[in-house]
């Protein structure tokens, strides 16, 4: 009987694992099947071709996504980590910390299209034009709650004994927080940042009223810019088969780029980790 229960539990665990992995694999295979044939050198080097013309690519959208995500990370990561450090270390138990935590949770639940509208009202309307900057800000604000709450949770997981060890050496509290506690929690904090990054990398809605999209090569932060999700959205809604294939290819590239970016960060930050460090 005990062996039976054990076997059943193991089987359930294996089944769950398969169910977790299956959707990702299925999506990936489908994307390769649908879009793989449209992936060629031109896809990465050319801008979208006008309707009726053959060929064309998404070079500008790949660049645009890169720029938007860079702006978003520059905003979301420092503010999120700073907020998380405040919540876990300096503001613990204060009213302000409670308010910040509540705000972050609400912000996390705000639909992404609302975030786009907010950036539209606050940045696009006053400036009078769509811009990469507005899109980056919208994405950056979306990153803040995830980064903030993960940072807080990871810092709270650092054992009290480690903080005491630093204080007992005569290290000032702020120094101990930055050099010991945050460093000890950094693998978890980096994971949180990557989750937030990957999430906003695929966002379309907040970009519709902010970055708008652009069919030309553009690096102007002050003007409309293309992005992979936007380009996929436009192509997928079009009536042309050629564009549909390009949209599938764009989705494939988007996923691969996210995986590459996350792996790169993991690789870079895992170097220098010592033997036996937890």
């Amino acid at each position: 009987m005990r062996a039976l229960t054990d076997g059943a539990a193991s089987a359930l665990a294996v089944l769950s694992t398969v169910l977790v992995v299956a959707p990702l694999v299925a999506i990936f295979i489908y994307l390769v099947y649908k879009g793989g044939s449209s992936l060629n050198w031109a896809f990465f080097t050319k801008n979208p071709a006008p309707v009726g013309e053959e060929g064309g690519g998404m070079a500008n959208a790949i660049l645009g996504s890169g720029i938007l995500l860079a702006i978003a990370s520059l905003i979301g990561v420092p503010i999120g980590i700073g907020g998380g450090i405040f919540l876990a270390e300096f503001g613990r138990g204060t009213k302000l910390a409670g308010a910040v935590r509540f705000t972050a949770d609400v912000l996390n639940g705000v639909p992404s299209i609302v975030m786009g509208l907010a950036a539209y009202a606050l940045i696009v309307v006053p400036l009078g034009h769509f811009s990469a900057f507005a899109g980056g800000v919208a994405l950056g604000i979306m990153m803040i709650p995830t980064v903030c709450r993960t940072t807080e949770e990871m810092l709270l997981m650092v054992p009290h004994s480690v903080r005491e060890a630093a204080l007992a050496l005569g290290v000032p509290n702020w120094r101990s927080v930055l050099s010991i506690t945050v460093k000890t929690a950094s693998p978890g904090i980096i994971t949180g940042c990557m989750l937030a990054f990957a999430r906003v990398a695929g966002e379309t809605a907040p970009l519709i009223f902010t970055a708008l999209g652009n069919s030309n090569w553009s690096t102007d932060l002050n003007g409309p810019i293309s992005a992979l999700p936007l380009q996929i959205y436009v192509y997928a809604l079009s009536p042309y088969d050629e564009w549909h294939r390009l949209a599938w290819a764009g989705a494939l590239v988007l996923i691969v780029l996210i995986v590459l970016a996350v792996s790169l960060v993991r690789f870079v930050t895992s170097r220098g980790v010592l033997k036996g460090a937890s």
Binding site: G93, P159, S161, V162, E164, A165, A166, L167, A168, L169, G170, V171, P172, R175, S176, S179, I180, K183, T184, S186, V273, L274, K275, G276, A277, S278
Partner: protein, 252 residues
């Protein structure tokens, strides 16, 4: 060199809980003083008052005077300065998990802005030799994390870390209670050697340990210090009935 410690009417609270009541005590320089007593008697709180770690708990409070050498630690100095002069080793080994062995030992100096590489190398080597760990780790100083060592090695690493900032006093809060007998005897040998350079205060549940390493012993009970005398006297001919009951195992 170690310095003497003089405690005058020390009182400490956790919230409304009066955990230390009117403690008077003189601990001689370059000797080991053992503090014994049942769990919850206040001996840990007492050593935490000697380097002002007690007040890192927001609900904690202290009154009274503690003089370390000629420094009145609650009047003349900031907590961070005290803690550099009064090192501490905790019950459970607590190396910094993400740091190498070398960085663990150098942490106290590095985090206070000390960056002379050659001097650091020397200090790390000397501290690890003083804590009898050098021979076991000298080949992986920068390769292995402090957390990769065994429990006993980790505790000696923590002792090296405390020694590296060159304190005058070393507080040890049950330093061997989480270790096996072999590691424990290593730590005790170490305490014996370290006495020549530091004043040592050791909290212990193990009365044989107190008898082995300390010249002076204090017995704590319910937040008061019942008796303080030479270790020999405490264990052979205590003047207080409660001390006698405790060391003969009648309670605690």
């Amino acid at each position: 060199m170690g310095v003497g410690i003089e405690v005058v009417s020390l009182n400490a609270w956790y919230g409304t809980n009066h955990t230390l009541q009117d403690i008077h005590l003189n601990m001689p320089a370059n000797h080991a003083t053992a503090l014994i007593g049942p769990s919850g008697c206040g001996k840990s709180t007492f050593v935490r008052c000697l380097n002002r770690m007690h007040e890192t708990n927001p609900i904690a409070r202290v009154t009274g005077t503690v003089r370390i050498g000629d420094l009145d630690i609650y009047k003349d100095a900031k907590p961070v300065e005290i803690r550099r002069r009064v090192g501490m080793v905790f019950q459970r080994p607590n190396p910094f998990p993400t740091m190498s062995i070398y960085d663990n030992v150098a942490a106290g100096l590095k985090l206070n802005g000390y960056s002379n590489r050659r001097a650091l190398d020397e200090i790390v080597e000397r501290s690890l030799k003083n804590s009898a760990l050098w021979d076991e780790v000298k080949d992986d100083l920068k390769k292995k994390s402090g957390a990769s060592l065994s429990g006993g090695q980790q505790q000696r690493l923590c002792i090296a870390r405390a020694l590296a900032v060159d304190p005058e006093v070393l507080l040890m809060d049950e330093p061997a209670s989480a270790l096996d007998p072999v590691s424990t005897s290593k730590i005790e040998d170490l305490i014996f050697q370290l006495k020549s350079q530091y004043t040592i205060v050791i909290v212990t549940h193990n009365m044989q340990q107190a008898a082995r390493v300390a010249e002076k012993t204090g017995f704590f009970l319910n937040g008061r210090m019942v008796e303080f005398d030479s270790t020999h006297k405490i264990f052979t001919n205590p003047s207080d009935k409660r001390t006698e009951d405790y060391i003969t195992g009648r309670f605690g």
